[in-house]
C-alpha cells in the first residue's frame, strides 16, 4: 500500500488511487504511479474543468480544428492560410523562479504552435503582479519581464502586445500567461498523431535531465504554500536550442514521411507520447534507455517524467527517417528513435530488454471528472453592495483634479512602454500597429489581409461577478479588435482561478463558463484553444478569478486603421454609448474603487446585444474611412480614455458638457460598451447616417492643450508626464 505522503507529492487523492487500482485490477508499480500522477494531474487531465470545457462554443465557419484535439486551435483566414493560436500559463513556476519560469512559459507555448507546422508570427502576454512597493513583488515582476525578453527575443518572433496589471490579489501568486500565434498553410496543418502501427517515435532536441520532475503534478496542480521548496521542479530554458527546433521542425514538417509532431511539455515524454498514441488509436512501445540523457544513472521514472525544455516528439513512417535525420543533423540537433507505435491500446515501457510496465492508454488518459456543480452546491457569493462616498456626489473641482492626477500615477494606468520596449516587436516586418494601442496589428504577407490581436482581461470585474465579468472580458477583447477596424473571429482563453475543490473556486469557474457561452454566441467568436491554471492562491487568499482572453480579428489591408489618439486640433470628438456618463454602477470593481476606496464591491452589468451593435458601428465607420481615432473606454473610465486620446499627440480637448454632481461615477466609472472617437467635421453627416438610431453624440472638439469641461479645466501636462514616466519602480 502506498503512503499518503507519496500520493500527496503526486497530487493524487486516496480515492483517486483506489480508482486506479479498480480500473487496472491491480496496484500500480512505482513507475506507473508516476504516470498516473502526471496524466491525472489537473494540468494534464483537466479533472475539474473538462465537463465545463465540453460546453464551450469552439466552432464557427472559420475553425479548422476540434477543441482540445491538437496542440492549439486553428482558424481559416482564406487564401489557404490558417492562424493557429493558444494561451498558456506559467504562473506557479514564475512565482518560484521568475526568470526561468516566464522564459520557459514562452518556450512551451511556442512549441505548441510550431508542433502544428505553423510559423510562430506573434507573441503576446498577460502579466499580473502585486504592489511594486514590496521588494519581493518587484523582484518577481522584473524577473518575469527579463525572462520573457531574454527568451523571446532570441527566437525572432515579435512580441506585439498584452497587458500588465497590479492587484494585491496576486501577492505571492503572479500570473504569467503567454500567447503565441502561428501562420500555416491551411491544407498542411500537422497533427499530433501517428498513422499506423510501425510508425517510429523519435525525440528531438535537448537531452533529458532531472529538471522539472513533478512540474505538472506538483507545481501546476496543488496549492503551493511552501513551494519555494520546489525550485528544482522549475525547468531551465535554452532559447537558442528552441530557435533551432523551430527552424528544423518547420523544415521537416514539409516532408511526407513525417506523420505527426508533438511538443514535450508538462509531464514530459509521458504526456506527449501517450497522448499521441491515444489520438492515433494505437498502442505504443517505449524503450527509456534510448532517450538521450544529461547525466548517468537517471531512472526510468525520471526519464519518463522529466520536463526538460526544448524537446519535441515526432512520429515517422517506419524506415523512412533518413531525410528527417539529415535535416536535423544540418541544424546540429540530436535525435533518437525511442519507441514505436504498435497495434493495440497499451503503452509498454522497457528499459532495454527489461519490461517495466504495460498499461491500457485509455485508463491513463481518463482521469475522474469532477462535477463542479456538486462542489459548489450551497455556495452563496458574498455580494457586497457598493458604498458611494458622500464626497463623490457633489461636484468638487479640486477633488476631481487631484483624483485625475492620482489615477495617472497608478501602475495600472501608466504607459507600459518600459516593458514592451524590452521585447522585439518589429522582427518579421509585419507589425503595422505596435504595442501600446487597444490591439496590435500584423499584415499577412502575400495576402490582402491584416490581423488584429489583443490579450487581456479585467479580473476585478470578475471578482465582483464572475459571469458578467467573463461576458465583459469577451466583449472588451472584441471591442479592442473592433476599434482597429477588424472583425473578431477567434478567441483563446487563459483561465486562472483559485481552488476548484472549494465551493468558491468551483462557483467562479461555473459562472465564468456561463458568461463565456453567452458572449461567444452573441459575438459568434469561438474559443478555439486555451489553458486552465487552477489552485492559484498565495499564502492568504485565492486570486480574483482571472479569465484572460486572447482575441484575433481580420480586416482588409487597405483599412485606414484609426489612431489610438486624437490627430489634430479642430477635429470633433464623438462617443458611442448608451449614456455618456455611464450609470451609478460604474464604480463597481473599478480602478477608482481600488485606489481610493480600497475595496472590491458592487454590481456590474453589460448589454451584449448593444455591445455588438456599437462594435459593428465602429467597424463600419472605419471601413468608410470616416474617423481618425478610436479608443475603447475601459480601465479608469471616460476621463482616462479622454486623457489618453489627448496624450498620443500631446493635444487637449474641449468637452461641451457639464460634469455632473456624481462626478466620480461619471468620470471614472467603468460602464461597458463605450467608445470615444474623433473625426473631421466634414464627415459628420455621413457618420450620422451610419449611426442613425444608434446611441452616439458629438461631445466636443480636439484642442491644443488641457482638458476643458463646461465647469472645470484640468491641466494635461502633469498627467502626460506621469503617464510617460511609467511604473512607480523601474521594472
Amino acid at each position: 500500500m502506498v503512503s499518503e505522503e507519496i500520493l500527496k507529492e503526486l497530487a493524487l487523492t486516496l480515492s483517486e488511487y483506489d480508482l486506479i487500482i479498480e480500473k487496472l485490477g491491480r496496484e500500480p508499480n512505482e513507475l506507473e504511479l508516476g504516470l498516473f500522477g502526471a496524466l491525472w494531474s489537473e494540468h494534464c487531465g483537466y479533472k475539474h474543468t473538462k465537463k465545463l470545457l465540453r460546453t464551450i462554443k469552439s466552432k464557427s465557419k472559420y475553425t479548422l480544428t476540434e477543441a482540445g484535439e491538437e496542440n492549439a486551435g486553428a482558424i481559416n483566414i482564406g487564401d489557404n492560410k490558417a492562424i493557429v493560436m493558444k494561451i498558456e500559463s506559467h504562473n506557479h513556476p514564475s512565482a518560484v523562479e521568475p526568470y526561468e519560469g516566464a522564459a520557459t512559459g514562452v518556450g512551451g507555448i511556442v512549441r505548441d504552435i510550431f508542433a502544428m507546422g505553423a510559423r510562430p508570427i506573434a507573441l503576446l502576454n498577460s502579466l499580473r503582479f502585486s504592489d511594486l512597493s514590496n521588494d519581493r513583488n518587484m523582484q518577481i515582476a522584473k524577473g518575469v519581464v527579463q525572462g520573457i525578453s531574454g527568451y523571446g527575443n532570441c527566437l525572432g518572433i515579435p512580441n506585439i502586445g498584452g497587458e500588465c496589471y497590479f492587484d494585491e490579489s496576486y501577492e505571492n501568486n503572479p500570473l504569467v500567461n503567454a500567447m503565441c500565434v502561428g501562420l500555416v498553410e491551411a491544407d498542411s496543418i500537422l497533427s499530433a498523431k501517428a498513422e499506423s502501427p510501425g510508425d517510429l517515435l523519435i525525440i528531438i532536441g535537448s537531452e533529458t535531465g532531472r529538471d522539472g520532475i513533478h512540474g505538472a503534478s506538483g507545481l501546476a496542480s496543488q496549492n503551493f504554500e511552501e513551494t519555494i521548496e520546489l525550485r528544482s521542479a522549475v525547468q531551465v530554458g535554452n532559447p537558442f536550442l528552441e530557435k533551432l527546433l523551430i527552424e528544423a521542425c518547420l523544415e521537416i514538417s514539409q516532408l511526407d514521411e513525417l506523420v505527426g509532431m508533438q511538443d514535450c511539455g508538462a509531464a514530459g515524454i509521458t504526456s506527449a507520447a501517450i497522448e499521441m498514441a491515444e489520438r492515433s488509436n494505437l498502442g505504443l512501445r517505449i524503450d527509456v534507455s534510448k532517450v538521450p540523457v544529461r547525466e548517468k544513472g537517471m531512472t526510468p521514472y525520471e526519464i519518463m517524467l522529466s520536463e526538460s525544455q526544448e524537446r519535441m516528439l515526432i512520429a515517422v513512417r517506419n524506415n523512412e527517417y533518413k531525410n528527417i535525420f539529415n535535416t536535423l543533423e544540418k541544424w546540429d540537433l540530436k535525435c533518437e528513435i525511442i519507441g514505436e507505435f504498435i497495434e493495440g491500446n497499451d503503452v509498454e515501457i522497457y528499459n532495454q530488454k527489461e519490461f517495466l510496465s504495460k498499461t491500457p492508454i485509455k485508463i491513463l488518459t481518463s482521469p475522474p471528472e469532477y462535477d463542479l456543480n456538486i462542489i459548489s452546491t450551497g455556495y452563496a457569493p458574498n455580494k457586497k453592495k457598493i458604498t458611494i462616498n458622500k464626497s463623490y456626489s457633489s461636484f468638487n473641482g479640486n477633488m476631481i483634479k487631484d483624483f485625475t492626477q492620482r489615477i495617472f500615477e497608478s501602475d495600472n494606468i501608466v504607459s507600459k512602454k518600459s516593458i514592451y520596449n524590452k521585447y522585439d516587436h518589429h522582427v518579421q516586418t509585419n507589425t503595422v500597429v505596435e504595442p501600446g494601442s487597444d490591439a496590435s496589428v500584423l499584415r499577412i504577407k502575400n495576402t490582402d489581409k491584416m490581423l488584429a490581436f489583443s490579450c487581456d482581461g479585467n479580473s476585478r470585474l470578475c471578482g465582483v461577478d464572475p459571469k458578467l465579468g467573463a461576458e465583459i472580458n469577451i466583449a472588451e477583447a472584441c471591442r479592442n479588435i473592433s476599434v482597429m477596424g477588424a472583425t473578431p473571429i477567434g478567441l483563446t482563453d487563459g483561465l486562472n482561478f483559485g481552488d476548484p475543490t472549494k465551493p468558491k473556486g468551483a462557483y467562479e469557474l461555473i459562472e465564468t463558463f456561463n458568461g463565456f457561452n453567452h458572449a461567444c454566441e452573441i459575438f459568434d467568436t469561438p474559443i478555439i484553444s486555451g489553458n486552465a491554471s487552477l489552485f492559484n492562491q498565495g499564502h492568504t487568499s485565492s486570486i480574483n478569478p482571472t479569465p484572460i482572453i486572447g482575441a484575433m480579428g481580420i480586416m482588409n489591408k487597405n483599412t485606414n486603421i484609426p489612431s489610438k489618439g486624437f490627430i489634430v486640433p479642430g477635429h470633433k470628438i464623438g462617443i458611442l454609448a448608451k449614456n455618456l456618463w455611464g450609470t451609478d454602477l460604474g464604480l463597481s470593481g473599478s480602478e477608482f474603487q481600488r485606489i481610493f476606496d480600497k475595496e472590491l464591491s458592487g454590481e456590474i452589468s453589460i448589454d451584449l446585444e448593444f455591445e455588438k451593435v456599437i462594435q459593428e458601428s465602429i467597424r463600419k465607420l472605419i471601413a468608410e474611412n470616416l474617423i481618425k481615432s478610436a479608443h475603447d473606454i475601459s480601465l479608469g473610465g471616460f476621463m482616462t480614455a479622454l486623457v489618453l486620446s489627448c496624450e498620443k499627440n500631446k493635444l487637449g480637448a474641449e468637452i461641451e458638457k457639464v460634469v455632473p454632481e456624481n462626478w466620480a461615477g461619471a468620470l471614472f466609472g467603468e460602464d461597458q460598451s463605450r467608445i470615444i472617437f474623433s473625426y473631421d467635421v466634414k464627415n459628420k453627416n455621413k457618420i450620422s447616417k451610419i449611426l442613425n438610431k444608434i446611441h452616439w453624440s458629438e461631445i466636443g472638439t480636439v484642442t491644443k492643450k488641457n482638458i476643458k469641461f463646461k465647469n472645470i479645466l484640468i491641466e494635461s501636462d502633469p498627467m502626460f508626464l506621469s503617464y510617460n514616466k511609467g511604473f512607480s519602480r523601474d521594472i
Partner: protein, 230 residues
C-alpha cells in the same frame, strides 16, 4: 548582381533582409549556410541580425569562427562590400573586420524602439541619402553599446568613418538621444577601405511605409548602385 545573406544557427533577420532586398527592391538574393566553404559570385554579403549560436561566450564570438567566415573575410579584404546588421556588426567586430566592440546597453536591458539616425553620406552605403539627413530605423538589441579605445575613436572620427549616429528628431546628437551608451552616439561605422559597414539598427525592418517607414532601403540601393556602376 547578387546579394548573399549568411545564415548562422540562431540568426533571425535573414528572411526580413531577403524580403527587403528581393521582394521589395528586386535584387537577386540568396541565403548562404554558415557551414558552406565558399561564397558564390556575390556582389554584396549581408551578415544579418539575430542571436548566432545563442550569443553564448560573447555576442558574435562563435559565429566569427563559422566555416563560411573565412571566405567572407577574404571577400571583404578583396574589397567586396559587406554589411553587418546588429548581430552581424558584432560578428564583424569579433572577426576584426571592424574595430571596437559592442557591450551591454548602458541600462542593462534589451531595447526595441525606432531610433533616429544622423546620416553621414560619405560612404558607398549611404551616398543616396542627403548628408546630415535624419532617418528612422528600429533598433533591437541588448548589446549595442559601441566602445573602442581613444585612438580608434579618433581615427574613426578623423577618417569620417562614423556613418550613423543616434540623434533626436531634428538631428541633435547628445546624451539624451543615445539609447545604449555608445561612445560618440555611434550606431554604424565602416572599415578603413569603406567596403565593410557595421550597424546596430535594422535597415531591413524599415522597409515599407505600412510597417512604420522605409528609410532603411536606401542603404541597399546605394551599395547596389555603386556595384552596378562599377
Amino acid at each position: 548582381m547578387k546579394i548573399g545573406i549568411v545564415v548562422f544557427p540562431g540568426t533571425w533577420s535573414e528572411s526580413d533582409t531577403f524580403y527587403a532586398t528581393k521582394d521589395i527592391l528586386g535584387f537577386q538574393t540568396e541565403y548562404i549556410w554558415h557551414k558552406d566553404q565558399k561564397l558564390n559570385n556575390l556582389d554584396l554579403v549581408v551578415l544579418p541580425g539575430g542571436f548566432s549560436y545563442g550569443d553564448y561566450l560573447r555576442t558574435g564570438a562563435i559565429a566569427s569562427f563559422s566555416p563560411i567566415m573565412e571566405d567572407v573575410i577574404k571577400f571583404a579584404n578583396n574589397g567586396g562590400p559587406v554589411i553587418g546588421i546588429c548581430n552581424g556588426f558584432q560578428i564583424l567586430c569579433e572577426s576584426k573586420l571592424l574595430p571596437g566592440i559592442l557591450i551591454r546597453n548602458k541600462n542593462l536591458s534589451f531595447i526595441c524602439e525606432w531610433s533616429n539616425l544622423l546620416v553621414n553620406n560619405q560612404s558607398k552605403f549611404t551616398d543616396e541619402y542627403q548628408n546630415k539627413e535624419v532617418i528612422k530605423i528600429p533598433i533591437s538589441h541588448g548589446e549595442g553599446n559601441y566602445q573602442a579605445d581613444r585612438y580608434t575613436i579618433d581615427q574613426l572620427e578623423d577618417e569620417n568613418r562614423i556613418i550613423f549616429r543616434y540623434c533626436s528628431n531634428d538631428g541633435t546628437v547628445n546624451e539624451i538621444n543615445n539609447p545604449n551608451g555608445s561612445i560618440n552616439n555611434i550606431a554604424g561605422i565602416t572599415n578603413k577601405a569603406g567596403n565593410v559597414l557595421g550597424m546596430m539598427p535594422h535597415p531591413e525592418k524599415a522597409s515599407e511605409k505600412l510597417i512604420g517607414g522605409d528609410d532603411g532601403l536606401t542603404i541597399f540601393k546605394s551599395i547596389m548602385k555603386k556595384v552596378s556602376d562599377g
